[in-house]
Symmetry: C2
Subunit: 229 residues, 2 copies
């Protein structure tokens, strides 16, 4: 259907002419996934990539015994699944819709053509991949060099920053998802939130609402200068 109205709003296509937008629109395919539906699995052949139009998607790794590590959660306008387009081979991770999600799909071959004729599209895609590398570096750092309280603090501060430093936060994902994003398990998240409350760093209603009481304290935790009792 009328993908054309979405194309110009996608950051990846900023700076392209209306003709190119129309061309892009002509090669894409729209798809809808319902909550928990698999979009692709690790090891699948990647014959193109996706951009989220509405809804949210998680991209994750799975261990043989079922533990998952979320690599990222994507929302409207964000592309995913590009690695096989440029590096060949297969998807390095799984992707699943977190809720009812609309995406547009770009077949590999036609996109490769397009990018060859469009330096600014190439530059945009390079920027997308570079930003993702930066985020992955941060995730690796977190997993390897920080303990869970530090990662959780960093995540709360990140949420707060997204809402220009609002102190009242609403988690946009369940505790289980949050645990998987931070490389831990829900029980650990629970215990740490309890300890953070005990130290008056935050106030939690036990659901998805958290109020930041001591931002500097959380920053110290996130950087590792401070530890929880």
């Amino acid at each position: 259907m009328d993908a054309i109205k979405h194309i110009p709003t996608i950051p990846l296509f900023q700076g392209l002419t209306p003709e190119h937008h129309a061309h892009v629109a002509s090669i894409v395919v729209e798809k809808v996934y319902r909550r928990n539906q698999v979009i692709f699995s690790e090891g699948d052949e990647g014959n193109g990539f996706y951009v989220v139009i509405s809804g949210r998607v998680k991209v994750f790794k799975l261990s043989p015994d079922g533990k998952e590590q979320i690599l990222h959660i994507l929302g409207a306008g964000e592309p995913f699944g590009e690695v096989p387009v440029f590096a060949g081979e297969r998807f390095p991770a799984h992707a699943e819709a977190l809720e009812e999600t609309r995406v547009i799909f770009f077949p590999r071959a036609s996109f490769a053509d397009l990018i060859k004729k469009n330096p600014s599209l190439a530059m945009n895609m390079l920027a997308v991949l570079s930003r993702r590398l930066r985020r992955f570096s941060a995730l690796i750092e977190d997993l390897s060099l920080k303990e869970v309280p530090g990662r959780l603090s960093a995540y709360l501060l990140y949420l707060s920053d997204k809402k220009n430093r609002e102190t009242s936060l609403t988690l946009d994902i369940s505790k289980a998802q949050l645990a998987s994003l931070l490389g831990t398990i829900p029980e650990t998240i629970s215990r740490i939130l309890t300890r953070m409350s005990a130290e008056e760093l935050i106030e939690s209603d036990g659901h998805r609402n958290i109020k930041i009481l001591d931002r500097p304290g959380l920053e110290e935790l996130a950087s590792g200068e401070r530890k929880l009792l």
Copy 2:
């Protein structure tokens, strides 16, 4: 100096015309770093990126208390430090020479020009970044979903595969570096190698030589189906 003789051998520049190679050569600067010399630090402004000509470079994150996590180790022909070129901002990690190392440096602005006129250079760079994303995904998976014996097994198998499944391996890095690459500490590496020897999976001379005795056993360890006693 005569960078021109190196340019055509670099995978990033495969598929370019000799004229383009010459052009690339005209904008690069050669630099030499001695063992342990810092190439750039996290947070530095990135005004260009590098390609290793000879020697080896480690790119790593550092925690406030000095623990390091190596993101990757690069050898001849491999580029590093590209993220700020395309995503702006600063280097997300530190880079240091592991030994006497020669690199060529590409100033950001002239490279950006070049890439706009060279679709195949853009495609090559997209491939480089995509492959790196795949490796980072694997590292995240390892750190989050595997225990150290699994990561170490995977690394030994990787070394073996590089030498077409040779069973006699020579570690190319010290145990301390290996630990930092696998997200652990030298003591843990030592203990695990001892346990692997005890189970006759490997034979180690205590230095940098390891012989693989039971490849399937290591594969089971790497995938998590098996555990060390």
